[in-house]
């Protein structure tokens, strides 16, 4: 396979392309939903489906050897730890700002009509 390169039937690409369009439509549709855990879940769900499709099909990672999959897709998992730590840190910083400087007095300007 390696010497031949990644050759797959065209249909695979057309299907993935169509799926990306539909999923992007769904992603955009979440903007019209009310804020809440359901909307957050939908945003993340469509994001992961799109990202997975691009990596596995368009970037051919699904057909590569397990060694390459582990070497490339494994390390980014460490980012989850950074996200976890920084969200705690961010909340702590917000709390100490509120405690020391009080509530924000910022008056947002009205958005202009485009």
């Amino acid at each position: 396979m390696a010497a031949e390169g990644q050759q797959h039937p065209l249909r695979v690409y057309w299907l993935m392309w169509g799926a990306l369009f539909v999923l992007s439509g769904f992603s955009y549709a979440t903007d019209f939903m009310d804020d809440g855990p359901v909307r957050t879940f939908m945003i993340l769900l469509f994001m992961m489906l799109k990202a997975g499709g691009i990596v596995l099909i368009f970037m051919h990672m699904g057909w590569e050897r397990l060694s390459l999959k582990i070497a490339i897709l494994g390390p980014p998992v460490a980012i989850l730890v950074l996200i976890w730590l920084m969200s705690f840190e961010g909340l702590y910083v917000e709390d100490s700002r509120l405690e020391n400087y009080g509530e924000s007095t910022f008056e947002p300007q009205e958005l202009p009509h485009h």
Partner: protein
Amino acid sequence: MTEAVMESGVESTGKQGVVDDWSQDKQVFGVPWGKAMMWIFLLSDTFIFSCFLVGYMMVRVSTTDPWPNPSEVFGLNLFGFDVPLLLIAIMTFVLITSSGTMALAVNMGYRKDKNKTFWLMVATAVLGATFVGMQAFEWTKLISEGVRPWANPFGAAQFGSSFFMITGFHGMHVSAGVIYLLIVAFRVKRGYYEKRGANYEIVEITGLYWHFVDLVWVFIFAFFYLW
């Protein structure tokens, strides 16, 4: 066992495949070196963009100023209707379309169809340039409304900082990708790769970079524009 595998020439798969790949005295990944290096570069780029997005999360969580609603900031008024996030949605579809033409270009490259590969790559580059153009329009609009990397009349100043840094860095990647695509496309057309044994692996490597740019946009769209 491994010797038997090496002699028979049959590649083992699964867990045993990983062990064999790393323990046998050979190239580990079984892909051309250019492709392995592109993947490793993209892995490092993943960390760069992740750090930007985590930094954005951090400043958004920690600020006490109100965060502007991106759906309104990036909305457009069309025929008297306020359509939220319209420009960004169009940019998303433009980038997805370009990913599709790129995937087809890679396929045509492996079929050694020089002409189709060239035109599909040019189409990808044109769509990429369209994306950058729309981003320039978006930047112009926000700057004219007073949004700066250090200030923002509609809410937290951090909104301006993260917006210009994240979309700017992504736009730079798209621009570099357009140049990269055009260079490879014209080499394909001129028959540069034909002289090298008609090896069109480079088209797939270029494609990896281009799909990665689309991949990053998926995360920016979800975390910056929708969240």
